[in-house]
Amino acid sequence: MKVEFNENNKIVLKIQSTLYSISVVHKCFYWYSGKFDIDIESVDNNLIIKMSNIPDDMDKNSLISKIKKDLLDFNTREIIALETKDIRTLLIAKAFANDDEYDESPPGILDDPIGFNPFDFKK
């Protein structure tokens, strides 16, 4: 992330689109849009974020530091969310299913050296 402009009550940041997805950037700056005016633009392969209305007494360096951390965190969140989207759907579907059917595929085997078939127990 590059800080393109840092003067008075305004900061302009440039983020390569290959680094963070647009949804990560949006989600991150959502949390800043209460205190500051946020403008997000896509220019070539970059996202330009204009933050204005920054109070005079605010430590801009800490602010930028925090933004960097937050971007990293939201990026991690996106990795997790994307990878777990399907399993989450499966989990919730199973949670609310009325399972009258037996899912007869438990893991592993039950054999001792003689051998054992769980279906010796009749259904």
Binding site: D103, I109, L110
Partner: protein, 366 residues
């Protein structure tokens, strides 16, 4: 240590049989009755042979009492199946087991004895007195009996409707849902399943029980059993491989199995496989006292029912004394010389007579 087996020379015994001791003769010999109404005589010495079923030349008979039920094999061996004056009777299902726990106190045998014991048990059950308070079911792994396990439990329900049945099983079969379902059809509210769980981390549990996928099977099994409203107890044996994650296991139990009606933390018996694996397993119970206290007090605070078995009071923190039960089966209970001057022998369960080694730190409490 109470004797449970003896032998003599069989006379006129054509088939193995169960029998109930009905009386003592003037000479302290015993008379027993079989289910088919035949009388069997048990003699210490060798009397003149008669046209009756006799076992003669038996070294010791004094341990047997009226009401005890025995199994007599054609080779003249006499096994005690049921002791009238004991609170610790159990039906033995099989020596087979599909796990191979590092600390197994009764190492499994790879011989198919299911039919042998099934026949003994189905003959035994009708002979057991109906006012028996509690009966265990043990092995090996009882569920290996398959469909006949259902038959046996059904017979128990019919013959002993007022007896609490405590089934010890590794619970792995219960991952196959149709088995908990079949068990629920027996409809006996007095059955409780005691199932071991040694860690919250699958690798640790599987390693301790020496069986791949055992953890997942047991955990799924517990949930299936709960779905079918079975009564469940968890058992945790305390040793070097299980103590470190004990507080985490306690939390895992509360969060995932809040429905279990009892949790037992058990001291290690120095017998069976434990001896072969002593370097992996044996430790002074005082060394895990922090973890044990953590786990027990946590579960208790969250409203779970907790007991400590097989640990002597002198080895436990006082905060845990109220959880300690006199749990060692009477037939294998003992006290040490150090216990002679102890003020707590009434409360304390003593040590395992079967243990070849005890804690070095057992001492009298004054």
């Amino acid at each position: 240590m109470i004797q449970l087996k003896t032998r003599g020379i069989p006379i006129n015994l054509t088939a193995p049989t169960v029998a109930t001791i009905i009386s003592q003769t003037w000479s302290k010999d015993l008379v027993a009755n079989t289910p088919s109404g035949q009388t069997v005589f048990l003699f210490k010495n060798v009397p003149p042979i008669q046209d009756k079923i006799m076992i003669v030349g038996i070294a010791t008979l004094e341990y047997l009492e009226e009401g005890d039920i025995i199994y007599i094999d054609t080779n003249g061996s006499i096994h005690t199946l049921f002791r009238k004056n004991s609170h610790h009777n159990a039906l033995f299902i099989t020596d087979r087991c599909n796990s191979n726990c590092l600390m197994c106190s009764q190492p499994p045998k790879n011989v198919d004895d299911l039919t042998h014991f099934f026949n003994i048990n189905t003959s035994l059950i009708p002979l057991i007195s109906k006012d028996t308070i509690e009966l265990g079911i043990t092995g090996g792994e009882p569920t290996l009996l398959g469909q006949r396990f259902i038959t046996l439990l059904g017979q128990i329900k019919d013959e002993l409707p007022n007896t609490d049945i405590h089934i010890l099983t590794n619970g792995r079969s219960f991952a196959w849902k149709h088995i908990p379902h079949a068990l629920s059809n027996i409809n006996n509210e007095r059955m409780v399943y005691g199932i071991p769980l040694y860690s919250d981390y699958y690798r640790q549990h599987d390693y301790i029980v020496q069986a791949k996928d055992a953890f997942n099977q047991t955990v799924l099994g517990l949930h299936n059993m709960a779905k079918f409203k079975h009564r469940l107890e968890l058992r945790i044996v305390l040793h070097k491989e299980s103590f470190k994650r004990l507080p985490k296991l306690a939390k895992y139990i509360y969060m995932n199995f809040p429905f279990v009606e009892h949790i037992a933390f058990m001291g290690l018996e120095y017998t069976g496989y434990t001896i072969a694996n002593k370097d992996l397993l044996w430790m002074e119970p005082t060394e895990y006292s922090d973890e044990l206290e953590d786990a027990v007090l946590y579960l208790n605070a969250m409203g779970m029912n907790v007991s400590i078995y097989n640990l002597q009071l002198c080895l436990l923190k006082p905060s845990l004394w109220k959880f300690a039960q006199r749990s060692i089966s009477d037939w294998k209970q003992n006290y040490l010389k150090e216990c002679e001057s102890c003020s707590e022998t009434e409360r304390c369960g003593g040590v395992f007579a079967t243990s070849k080694k005890h804690s070095q730190l057992i001492q009298a409490i004054k």
